[in-house]
Symmetry: C2
Subunit: 233 residues, 2 copies
DNA sequence: AAATTTGTATGTTTTTTAACATAAAATTAA
DNA sequence: TTAATTTTATGTTAAAAAACATACAAATTT
């Protein structure tokens, strides 16, 4: 899609957008001063340590949010899809980014000024409450992840990642192929394991007929068994 | 301290309280309908799965927030001190609790009605913004914890826990003894390791003269070395 | 098309951590 | 007080996961 074809107003009104409760005046204020950018696969959108100066709205594509640990290993904290907002936590906490955002495929992002967002929150209470709901549900998600990533074994962790990807991106038309293509390394960085272990465990799952793998396409062939592996940990 | 001696209004006005920006009218509304309860050490304040119906304010004592994982092992997600608020995440996300709260020592808690909190947020924008700041800084904390707990080795994780306890509860008058007493099991559950490993690693740190241990009292004797262990992971 | 780089697959070894076992010390209850 | 239970300490073994090594396939660059 070409940048010139993007109609941001349409995205603000979308049913999944947190902006859809804004008044027309508020939406227009946002739209008056927005920036559209496009990113190629693997482009860095923002980086750990940078100061946020706008709120980003993912119009098209997929973006991973990751944080590097001691050994330089990355942990993917979040996977986003249109029309999620990105990078608002650091902005709202008045902190530099503690994570980086990288495009997983060609991506279009609409940026609104930081100050305008803050004014919106300040003037529109329903919007503030939507942000509160967003943050508190994300915090719950993050807390659950702490326990899953630290306590489950490799098989359980990878199974959880596959089910998570299904919930986030859904299936293709065949109703069983994950609607996202990731490298084995990304799968590993989602699941807190080495790339080798992601590759090996993926092969094992395929041998056990839980999934089938063709390149980066993953089909879930035995959903119940996958859930069992996830539940057992 | 006796429950009858508690003056809740004093706590609402305290400089650490998120309630201190409220108007007198708002504070009085809160105070009109509050419940004080006291808990003994190890008492359960709320439990995973329960429905939150009030926001809890820790007036006195210390409380751990923990979540059980697959094998029944607990991960301590948060350590609280006066006058932190407790259990607000689930309440704000309109979800059941995903974690439990347990008193670490004799504790006094003041509960305000859920609905009143929601009305406050709805009517007082500055208060909503304070909640947003609280949630977003907690989310950052949680995300950092994901990476630390999954990527650091045992020594680094325990060092981080000790430094975290120092930051949260500070030192006693001697300027080196942690102002909190925890069982080895709690230290383990903070650091994502077995109790055996917490005991062993604590002994090693003591042998290396990084800390000194007397029962449950921990003294930091070599702060720089402890930070180095923490940084190395 | 050939060459180079990157990603995937799989076997082997080493490290880390958990599990298990036992005993002593410290609390708590009878 | 004694007895029982819980907590701490430490040694040993077993399991899980990382690290390493190598080969092959796929994608990219030249």
């Amino acid at each position: 899609m070409n940048l010139n074809d993007i109609n941001c107003s349409e995205y603000l009104n979308s049913s999944n957008s947190i902006f859809n409760i804004l008044s027309n005046t508020e939406k227009n204020t946002l739209l008056k001063n927005h920036t559209l950018s496009s990113y190629k696969k693997n482009d860095v959108i923002f980086k750990e340590g940078e100061i946020p100066n706008s709120i980003l709205c993912l119009i098209e594509g997929k973006v991973k949010i990751l944080k590097k640990g001691v050994g330089g290993r990355s942990q993917i904290l979040k996977m986003t899809k249109p029309i999620d907002i990105i990078g608002y936590r650091a902005l709202l906490a008045d902190e530099p980014y503690i994570s980086s955002a990288i495009a997983l495929e060609d991506t279009i992002i609409c940026a609104f000024d930081k100050q305008e967002l803050k004014e919106l929150i300040h003037n529109n209470n329903d919007f503030a409450i939507k942000i509160i709901q967003l943050l508190s549900s994300e915090l719950g998600f993050s807390n659950k992840k702490i326990v899953a990533l630290t306590q489950k074994h490799i098989r359980g962790r990878l199974a959880e990642t596959i089910l998570f990807l299904k919930n986030t991106y859904g299936f293709e038309e065949d109703n069983c192929t994950l609607n996202i293509c990731l490298s084995r390394e990304d799968l590993a960085n989602l699941s807190n394991m080495t790339t080798s272990n992601a590759i090996r465990t993926l092969s094992t799952f395929a041998n056990e007929a839980v999934i089938s793998v063709k390149g980066r396409k993953i089909k879930i062939t035995d959903f119940k068994k996958l859930q069992k592996i996830n539940d057992l940990g």
